[in-house]
Subunit: 329 residues, 2 copies
C-alpha cells in the first residue's frame, strides 16, 4: 500500500481544473434518448483539440513543474494520445518535447503529434519506457508519464469533477481502463462528490488484466503479446502500483467487452450520437449498450475517451454486419 | 417587401431561447487549432438529440401555439431532420404528430422519426407540401413549416445568440442555406449583437439558387430536378418570400461549394474534429476549408447543421481519395 500522501485528493483535482481551464474543453454531457434501456449520457472527450482526454493530465503535469525544470523541456512515451497531449501542452508553454512511440502506433496519431513540433522517436513497444527514461536522464528533461503520476491522475480527474457538477444525481459512471489514470482520477472525484454513484472500469476481454487484478486483490500481469490482440490500441497497458492502489479504493467493478461489441459501439456512436470514437473510446458505451444487466439502475454516464481512429477502420466498422448476439447494432 | 411586423427580431430569438432551453443542447464552440489557415471554431448542431439544429425551430413553433390548437396535434412536411424535430417536440408535449416525407428520404431519417411515435406518410417530393396542407385542413391540425414561419426562424436564431454570447469578437459566421430559416435566424442575431461580424450563407454549386437570387435581388427558381443533383439532401429546398426577405437584410454573401469539397469536408470533420456530419451539415466547414480566399479575415465559426447520414455513404467518403484541387483532404 502506498503512503496516504501519494493518493490523489479532491483538492488536487480542483487545483488541476483551474490549471487546465485555458486549454481543455469543458465537455458537455450528451443525452441519448434513442437508447431506451437506461438513461444514458455521453461525456465526449473525443472533442478535445487533440481528440482525447489526455490533454487534461499532460497539461496539468507540465503546469505543475517548477519553471526551471519546465523550461528545459519534457519527454514522454505513449501509444499515441498521451504523446499528442504532451506535444500540444509543450507547444502551449513554448518548450521542447521529445516523444518516444511504439512502431505500431497508427499513422494518424504519429502525424498529429509531429504537427505540434515535437521530436518523434519510434522504437519497439517493449523498449518505449526505457528509451524515454534514458533520454530524460541524458538530456536533463522532465519525464511526463502517461498515467503513473499524481498530477496526471488529478488532471484526468477533472472529468469526474465536471460530471458531478453537471449531474449530481448520477448513478453509474463507465470509464475505460488500461494504465488506470483516467479511472483513478474520475473515481476519486466521484467518491468524494457523489458517494452513491457506482464507478465501473471497462476493458476489452482480450486485455482484461485489471478485472483479474481487482478480483485477486493484487496486480495481475498479462503478457504484452496477449494484450496486443485487442483492437483497442489505447487499452493495451497495465496499471502501475500507484494507479492500482487508487482503482482498489474507488472502482466498484470491472466490465469486460468483446471485440465485436467494441466495433458495434463505434458504429452506434457514429450513427446515433454522431461522434467518432476510437476503439478504446467506445468500450465504455459498449458496456452500457451490451452489458446493462451487469450494472445497477440509475442515470448512466459513459466517458468517450478518444476519437483518433484510422479512417479505413472506421469505414470498415460502419459497413460491417454485426454477428448475432450484438443487439441493436 | 414584407411588412416590418413579419420580420423576426432579437426579442423573438431571446424568447425562443427561453422556450427551447429544456430540450435543446446548448452546443459548445469547438476550436480547431489543426486548421492553421484561419482561426476556426465549429458549432456542432449534429450533437442535438435528433442530430440536427431543427429541434430549435420546431420546438419553439409548437411551444408558441395556443394550448387548444397544440392539443389537437401537428403536421409537418420535411426532407428529414425537420420531420424528426417535429416528431420529437410533439412527443415532449404529449401531442400527436403526422409527418409527410418524400419517398427518397434516407431510411435512417425515416426510422428516427417513426421512433418518436409519429405517423409517417411518404409521397413524391413534389406533393409533400400540398398533402401536408390538405391533412392540416381536414384534421384541424397546426402545420409546422420547416422554415417559412417567424417562430421557426426565431428558434434557429438561438444558435446566433449562443455564438454572440460565447464569442462576441467573432468575425465570420458560415451557415448552410436552402429554405433559409437557419441563415435568417442566425443572421438576425448576429447583426443585432455583433454588427461587425460577416455572415455568409453556404450552398452546393448544384443547388445555388440562393446565390443567384441574392445577386439578382429577387428569388430565382431552380427546377427541383436540378437541385436534387447535390449529395446534400437537406439543401434541396428554396427560400420562401419570408426567409428571402430576411436573407437580403442579414446575409453578407454566399459561398458555393462543389460536391467533391462537401465529401472532403465530411472526411475532415470525421478525422480531425471527430464529428459525423451529413453532407448538408458539412458545407459550412467546406467553405472555411476550401474557400478561405473568398472570406474576410477574422475568427470564424462554421455551423455544422446536422449529422444524420447513411453509414454506407460516410464509409465511402472516409476511404475515397480526393481529386486534385481539394487541398488538405
Amino acid at each position: 500500500m502506498l503512503a496516504a500522501m501519494d493518493m490523489v485528493t479532491l483538492d488536487d483535482i480542483r487545483a488541476a481544473a483551474i490549471r487546465i481551464a485555458p486549454v481543455a474543453l469543458r465537455t458537455p454531457l450528451l443525452s441519448q434518448p434513442w437508447f431506451t434501456e437506461r438513461e444514458l449520457w455521453l461525456k465526449p472527450e473525443n472533442l478535445q483539440h487533440i481528440g482525447a482526454f489526455k490533454i487534461r493530465g499532460a497539461y496539468n503535469a507540465i503546469a505543475a513543474l517548477d519553471d526551471g525544470a519546465r523550461a528545459r523541456g519534457v519527454v514522454a512515451y505513449s501509444s499515441g494520445n498521451h504523446a499528442n497531449a504532451v506535444a500540444r501542452a509543450a507547444k502551449e508553454f513554448g518548450i521542447p518535447a521529445t516523444i518516444v512511440m511504439q512502431e505500431s502506433t497508427p499513422r494518424v496519431k504519429v502525424e498529429a503529434t509531429a504537427a505540434h513540433g515535437a521530436e518523434i522517436i519510434e522504437v519497439p513497444m517493449a523498449e518505449r519506457e526505457a528509451v524515454a527514461h534514458e533520454i530524460a536522464e541524458r538530456r536533463g528533461l522532465a519525464l511526463v508519464p502517461p498515467f503513473d503520476h499524481p498530477d496526471v491522475i488529478a488532471g484526468q480527474g477533472t472529468i469526474g469533477l465536471e460530471i458531478a457538477t453537471d449531474m449530481p444525481e448520477v448513478g453509474v459512471v463507465l470509464v475505460p481502463v488500461a494504465g488506470g489514470g483516467l479511472a483513478s482520477g474520475i473515481g476519486v472525484a466521484m467518491k468524494a462528490l457523489c458517494p452513491d454513484a457506482r464507478v465501473f472500469a471497462v476493458e476489452p476481454e482480450l486485455a482484461a488484466d485489471t478485472a483479474a487484478g481487482l478480483l485477486a486483490g493484487h496486480r495481475v500481469h498479462w503478457p504484452a503479446e496477449q494484450r496486443a490482440r485487442t483492437i483497442a490500441d489505447g487499452l493495451r497497458t497495465e496499471p502501475s502500483e500507484l494507479t492500482f492502489a487508487h482503482l482498489r479504493e474507488v472502482i466498484d467493478g470491472v466490465i469486460t467487452v468483446s471485440e465485436e461489441e467494441i466495433r458495434a459501439s463505434m458504429r452506434l456512436l457514429a450513427t446515433r450520437a454522431r461522434l467518432v470514437a476510437e476503439p478504446s473510446g467506445a468500450v465504455s458505451a459498449a458496456a452500457a449498450f451490451f452489458h446493462g444487466g451487469e450494472l445497477p439502475a440509475g442515470r448512466t454516464v459513459a466517458v468517450i475517451s478518444g476519437g483518433n481512429v484510422d479512417p479505413a477502420l472506421l469505414a470498415e466498422v460502419l459497413v460491417s454486419t454485426p454477428r448475432a448476439g450484438v443487439a441493436g447494432a
